[in-house]
Symmetry: C2
Subunit: 134 residues, 2 copies
């Protein structure tokens, strides 16, 4: 079943998309920026910078960090953070429903099988490229 | 005004998104893969590989290339190519309409101004990173 992925650009510097939202959801589940980043295969620094950029995007922070404590600092979503995730997922699901007929039309036009293995495609590509440039 | 960008993943190997669709539209306007690619700042090779991947994605080609002729080969969208662009743009517009309320809710929560200049953010980031790791 085809899957729609969305990015919302608010302006030239501010956007949210599937990566940031997934990270926020994992922080909500795991209570830690480091653990959430690890699960997405990113460094702590990268995860932290993403969180920082979303925090600066909105009027209030979306992630609250608690430093220290017996088990080290944790992180959790603020009320706004949960609302951001909820609205993004609602955009996704409204879009998927509204666009179902056109997505179905595109799916109906797909080739029966997926692309051929890379080496075959490579050879064909080469032949066709030659015929196009002559 | 916020802008929604969509990618449709049909399966693990086949997807269409804003880049491929823009390229198809430019080919339709300019009648040339090379000219369309140039306008998007990509090499002929890259443009050609993108076209090739969309051609293999669907049951029939979306771009038809004519080799030779007095002015060299040209390219145009097939009927299927035009339909693919039309359905993708319809998905986009249906999604934007259906998701308007949630996008508006997200926009209302944006900070008044965009992110601060890079050097200020850098300094803040450093301070906050220190407080998080202690």
């Amino acid at each position: 079943m085809p899957r729609l992925t969305l990015r919302i650009d608010f302006d030239q510097n501010r956007a949210i998309g599937p990566g940031k939202i997934k990270l926020l959801e994992l922080i909500d589940n795991l209570g830690s920026i480091a653990a959430a980043g690890r699960q997405m295969g990113m460094s702590y620094r990268r995860a932290w910078l993403l969180v920082d950029s979303v925090n600066h995007c909105f009027r209030h922070p979306v992630v609250a960090s608690q430093a220290g404590g017996q088990h080290g600092g944790g992180a959790s979503l603020t009320e706004l953070g949960r609302a951001v995730v909820r609205h993004y997922r609602a955009v996704e699901s409204a879009a998927q429903t509204a666009a179902a007929a056109d997505i179905e039309a595109l799916s109906a036009a797909l080739a029966e099988r997926g692309p051929e293995p890379a080496d075959t495609v490579g050879r064909k590509t080469h032949r066709l490229a030659l015929s196009l440039t002559t």
